[in-house]
Amino acid sequence: MKRVLLLLIALATPPWFSQPTAQEKPRYGGTLNVGIHSDLYGLNPFVRMRSIDRTVRSLVYETLVSIDSKAEIKPFLAESWKISAEGREYTFNLRRGVKFHNGADMTAEDVKWAIEYAQNPQHGATAKPLLENVESVRALDRYTVKFTLKKPAVAFLSSLTNLGTLFVLPKESIPTEETKVENMPPGTGPFAFKEWRAGAHASFERFKDYWQKGFPYLDRVVFKPLPDAAARLAALRAGDLHIITRVPSQWVAKLQRGETADVSLAPAKYSGMRELYLNVVRPPFNNVKIRQAVAYAIDKQKIIEGAYWGQGEATEERFFKGSPWHFGFPERKRDLSKARALLKDAGYKGEKIVFVARQGQEEVTFIVPQLQEAGFNVVVETLEAGTYRTRSRTGDFDMSPGGGDNAVDPDEVTVEFMCDEEAVKLKVRDNNRTGYCNKQLDALFDQASRSLDPKKRRELYRKGFAILYEELAEVFLAFEHRFFGVHPNARGFTSDDNENLDTAAGGLFRVWLSR
């Protein structure tokens, strides 16, 4: 009977499921080698850089509140909080006895300093636009800090789960008006920064006074940039690396089937939202019918199968199915006759469409023939990252693929869709890439961000996103599933939907090496 039961359990557990750890006692010590798909760009935690920087920083810095694996907001550096009735005042009671890597105690003054540093335009902090709504921060006592907002914002709490909004570091870790840092300033995370040799490695040492007692298990974490995905996977399988980011999609299915027993997968399922930006301020995409024709011309499932090797979910919306902010708008199936009719209706006569893509954006290979089949005259320009960035920022494109993080609350992403006519004029499209502007939508999103009634708020957002569903400034394509690859010797690893390495949902602090 027992044997049958074991067999049943074995059958019910997918082979790629992260290793069972319940029976085994975690071991302390060892160096964990992590292969990353791109090197870090910089060490100043206030300046955003690329997603890999955030992934690595999440080892060193922590937020006041965090999201757990059930997408609920949990205490992290703050033990508890109180929100005033009108939603303008947020008071946090900080966890006591939390130490920074330099040995100092974390206090309310540090939180206040971090916010004020980020708000100072001299510092170029990427969180500045996100903290625009914070009017003042006061340290009520050593462990109590109060934020006063300019206007009520329900989403403020969830935005604080994002490392890009706020993290805590000792006050004055970076001198005022200084942005250059040679080392990562201390944080409260499970590992402290040791050194970074660009192109070679970035290493982090165990923080023995970490507030989550008994953690972390590892002595050291070393990140090694290895941009070639095949080489990264081979090194993982050979045991030279313990964890790798972004397992090549063509391998995921094989690994899931258990064809290679030497690697398991840890999903970061919704970290790769993929979309298509349409430049709506110039012809031909200033015509909504032509934009709609794009949506009917493309076959998202084919793109997922081709470019992501089946590892993705098609979407019509910014938030994935299962998120509280998914509204269930009807799926647009590929319909060539409809696309052609829309093009004809709009008077499209084969004007050239410049499709600006970045190297490595594989979806382009599949989107372009689909568009051409529908009658679009598409010319692709594949550019290296820096050039691509400039082209998209200045608005010098007709269409361009892009992506975004998995957001927790719509408030974090609405700026992508709200009017910024000045940015279009000055050719500095930093937030709203497409140039889309609709005052009615702005009003809805603005109301929603102030609303305290969750039901009403959801309804306002639904209305707003319904406009976008029809107007299509951006065509949402899919959530590309991303996976960490894990060597059998590395136990207990889980990540979240944003490829973070230290949150309430899991991360490297729980990882230990069996050998």
Partner: protein
């Protein structure tokens, strides 16, 4: 001879100046700027952008930036990396040994394979020896480095487990581990070099073997082996030396693919990273150093000519 070398060293100055000038202006011709790359895909304000631009000294006209750079360079200061904020000289010198070790190992391997293979192929022309040497040469030229590298990783790293699949260990830390890590990347670059050089050695050798002096030497009774080792081999090495000298440039700056696949922290990858992140000072410094090494190696080649063929005069 000394005078010749001195004169060549003085000639270096305009070459390096020109190299730095070309690199400086070409990198600025590419669209994209370091501030945008630095701020990445996240959201930021125009204010932030302008401030960072100013802090990096990128708001000044290009020629002023060049003059500033030149002035600092002459004083031995290559500036700071825009990306890591560390001194450029430190950054480059840290990565330089890895590149040099790899290039030297590849060079050694290439020469050790190519000279005997080319010689045997020529002496035993149209025999299986010749065919296998030429098949090897063809393989080396035809197979892309990245593919060969991945093949070696899979074969020797993953399935056999003989060699590590990635990384670099400084020889001062552990010399054996260093060699261990060096083997596969050196094999890839060495094969590449060997295949080219083998063909040159063979062609040159075939030509020499048909010359009158060989017939004379054989006629006066010198054994074939003696003729080959003492006379023709040395004469055939002239062309090979030129090719090797030029190939060093490829080993230094062009081993990007191999450095990337093996996570080998060399200068070639540093250059690529600097281009991607528009890290102008690092790029400038690295190119300068590579140009310097390249010119140095070719000076060495010229001196070697003299040794190989005393008729050549260095003036």
């Amino acid at each position: 001879m000394t005078l010749y070398i001195l004169r060549r060293l003085v000639q270096l100055i305009p070459v390096l100046l020109l190299a730095s000038f070309i690199v400086f202006f070409i990198i600025h011709l590419i669209p994209g700027d370091p501030v945008e790359v630095m701020l990445g895909e996240g959201r930021y304000t125009q204010e932030t952008y302008e401030l960072l631009r100013k802090k990096m000294g990128l708001d000044e006209p290009l020629y002023i930036q060049y003059v500033h750079w030149l002035n600092r360079m002459v004083h031995g200061d290559l500036g700071q990396s825009l990306r890591t904020q560390r001194p450029v000289l430190d950054t480059i010198l840290e990565r330089y040994p890895a590149t040099i070790y790899l290039a030297l190992a590849a060079l050694l391997l290439g020469v050790v394979i190519a000279i005997p293979a080319g010689t045997i192929a020529a002496v035993k022309q149209n025999t299986p020896w010749d065919y296998s040497a030429m098949a090897f040469a063809l393989f080396g030229i035809a197979v892309p480095n990245f593919w060969f590298a991945l093949l070696l990783i899979l074969g020797f790293g993953l399935y056999l487990g003989w060699f590590p699949t990635l990384g670099y260990i400084d020889p001062s830390v552990n010399f054996r581990t260093f060699l261990w890590h060096l083997t596969l990347p050196a094999l890839v670059l060495g094969t590449d070099l060997a295949s080219t050089v083998t063909r040159y050695v063979r062609a040159e050798m075939l030509e020499q073997l048909r010359l009158d002096y060989v017939r004379t030497a054989r006629a006066k009774g010198l054994p074939k082996r003696m003729v080959i080792y003492k006379h023709t081999l040395r004469n055939s090495l002239l062309a090979a030396t030129t090719v090797i000298g030029l190939h060093v440039g490829r080993l230094l700056g062009g081993s990007t693919v191999v450095e990337t696949v093996f996570a080998w922290p060399g200068v070639a990858r540093l250059v690529l990273e600097a281009v991607y992140s528009r890290d102008y000072p690092v790029l400038q410094g690295a190119v300068l150093l590579l140009a310097l090494t390249f010119v140095g190696v070719n000076l060495l080649v010229d001196v070697l000519y003299k040794w190989l063929d005393p008729r050549i005069s260095l003036r």
